[in-house]
Symmetry: C2
Subunit: 302 residues, 2 copies
C-alpha cells in the first residue's frame, strides 16, 4: 500500500459557514482536510499543513482516527487559518465574508524524509511558488496534481505557468479556466491549458459536473443530482480526493481509469455537500461509495 501513498499539501482551517439550511462556526475545514478525508478510502494519505496554537486537538484526533497521517501538520505560534462565508440558494457561488490567513500566511512547508518519498502528490490551492517549492522536495513522484484559484491566476500567473510545466494533472473550476486561458469556450480553454504542460485537465463546474480533457479524449460527467445540498464548501477538494485516490490504482492516466476516477471524485463530492464540514464523509462506509457509484451509472447510461 505504501507505493500508493498520497501527499496532500494545503490548508487545514476553521470554517464558519452559513447556508439557507443552517450554519456552523469554526468547523474543521481547509483543502487538505477535505481532500484527505475523501482520498483515504482509496490510499494512505499524509497531510502537510500548518495550524495555530488555537487549533482544537479533537480535529487532529478526528483526522488520525480516519487513518490520515498527520505528522506533517505543523503547529505554529499564532492563530489557525480561518474562512467565513455564506451561500444563497444558488449554492454554486460562495460569498466570502472574511479570510484570515494567520499562520498560513508564511507557510513554507519543509517535507519530512517520509513525505519526500510520496509517489503521489496533490498540491491544493495556494501560492504557485509554494506549490512549486514543495514539489521540488519530492523525490521521483509518480503522479502529481495541483489546484489553483482566481487570486493566483490574477497575481501569480508566471509562477503558475511554471508550475503547470511540472505537474501531470491540473484541476480548476470553469471560470478559472476561462480566466487563465482568456478563452470563453471551454474546449479552447482546455487546449490552451494542455498546451502549457499538464497531461490531464479537470474543469470543475460545481452542480453542472466535470469536464475532463487530455490530448486523446474528453469525458463529460454530470454532478450527482441531490435533493438536499447542505453546504458546498470543500466539494472541489473532496472531488480531488476521490479522483486522485482512485488514480493511485493505475497511475498511467489510461482513459478508462481516468473516467472512473472522475466519477469516484464526483461521488465523494456529492456526499461531502450533504452536511457541514467533514461530517458526512467522516461517517461514510466504503460500501456507500460503491452504492452511489452504481447510482451514478444508472443516472447517466443510455
Amino acid at each position: 500500500m505504501n507505493n500508493r501513498r498520497i501527499l496532500a499539501v494545503g490548508s487545514v482551517a476553521l470554517d464558519s459557514v452559513r447556508t439557507p439550511f443552517g450554519k456552523v462556526r469554526e468547523a474543521l475545514g481547509g483543502s487538505a482536510a477535505y481532500f484527505s478525508a475523501s482520498a483515504r478510502f482509496f490510499s494512505p494519505v499524509s497531510v502537510v499543513a500548518v495550524v495555530g496554537t488555537d487549533f482544537p486537538k479533537k480535529h487532529l484526533h478526528l483526522m488520525q482516527g480516519l487513518g490520515i497521517d498527520t505528522h506533517g501538520i505543523q503547529r505554529e505560534e499564532g492563530k489557525t487559518f480561518r474562512w467565513s462565508g455564506f451561500y444563497d440558494y444558488d449554492l454554486n457561488n460562495a460569498h466570502t465574508l472574511e479570510t484570515q490567513l494567520n499562520v498560513f500566511k508564511n507557510f513554507k512547508p519543509k517535507l519530512s524524509e517520509k513525505n519526500k518519498k510520496s509517489p503521489f502528490v496533490f498540491l491544493a490551492n495556494s501560492d504557485p511558488g509554494i506549490q512549486e517549492a514543495v514539489l521540488g522536495q519530492v523525490k521521483n513522484p509518480v503522479l502529481t496534481a495541483c489546484d489553483t484559484m482566481n487570486y493566483w491566476i490574477q497575481n501569480k500567473k508566471t509562477g503558475l505557468t511554471r508550475l503547470l510545466k511540472k505537474v501531470d494533472i491540473f484541476l480548476l473550476n470553469d471560470s478559472e479556466a476561462r480566466q487563465l486561458s482568456g478563452e470563453y469556450n471551454l474546449i479552447r480553454a482546455s487546449q490552451w491549458i494542455l498546451g502549457r504542460g499538464p497531461r490531464l485537465l479537470v474543469i470543475k463546474k460545481g452542480e453542472h459536473g466535470v469536464i475532463c480533457v487530455s490530448k486523446n479524449f474528453i469525458f463529460l460527467a454530470p454532478a450527482f443530482l441531490l435533493e438536499k445540498i447542505f453546504d458546498p464548501t470543500g466539494a472541489g477538494d473532496s472531488f480531488a480526493g476521490g479522483f486522485m485516490g482512485y488514480l493511485t490504482r493505475s497511475p498511467h492516466l489510461d482513459e478508462s481509469t481516468v473516467r472512473r476516477a472522475v466519477v469516484y471524485g464526483s461521488v465523494l463530492a456529492s456526499y461531502n455537500v450533504e452536511s457541514f464540514s467533514l461530517k458526512r464523509v467522516v461517517s461514510l462506509k466504503r460500501s456507500d461509495i460503491e452504492k452511489r457509484y452504481k447510482q451514478f451509472q444508472k443516472l447517466t447510461k443510455f
Copy 2:
C-alpha cells in the same frame, strides 16, 4: 409512417440575432420551424402556425423541401412574428431587444381534418389556453408534449396547470422549473411538477445539459461539448424535435427509449447552435446525426 406523424403547433417567425460571432437579419426562426427541421429526420411533421403577408415564400419552400407538411401554416393579413435579440459570450442567456407578435397575437389555430388525426402532438411555447384549445381538437393522440416560458408561468399559471393535467411530456428550462414549482432544488421542483400531471419531465439546462425525470427514473445528460457555438437560438426547440421525433418509434415512454431520445434531442440541438437560423440542421444528413450520437456515447461512458 403515417401512424408516426407529429403535429407541431407554434411559431414561424423572422429572427434578427446578434452573437459575438456574427449577426443575421430576419432569418427564418420560430419554435415550430426549429422543431420541425429536427423532428423530420425521424417522422413526418406537420406544422401549424401563422405568418403575415410579408413572409418570404422561400422560407415556406425551404420547409417543404425538407419534407415538412406546411398546409397548416396560415397566411394572415399583417406582418409576421418578429423577434430580435442578442447574446454575449455567455451564450446561455438571450437578451431580447424586441418582440413583435404581429399576426401571432390573435393566433387561434383551427386544425384541418388531417392534422386532427395526428398521433403525436408537440405544443410549442405559447399561451396555455391556446395550447389547450389545440390539444382539444386532436382526436385520440398517442403522445403529447408541451413547452412553456416564464411569461406564461407568471401570467397564466392556472391555464398552464390545467394544460399539465392533459399532456404526457412537459419540457421547460431550469429557471422556469424553479419559477413554476417555487422549489430551487431541481429534484424537488421535478417532484412538484410531476405531481401536476405529466408522466415525463424534461428540464433543459442549455450548455449544462438536460435532466429527464419520470416517476421511475432520472436521466442526466450533459450537453454536447462544442468548440464553436454560433447562435443558441432555437436550441430548445431543436432538442424537442429530435427528442419527440425519436419517441415516435416507441411511444410508451419506456426508460431506454426515453434516454436515447434525450441524447438524440441533444444531438440535434448541438448541430442547431452551430449556425444562425436553421442553416446547419437543414444541411444535415441522417448519418451526421448517428455520428454525433456515437461521439456522445464516447464523451459520457465510464
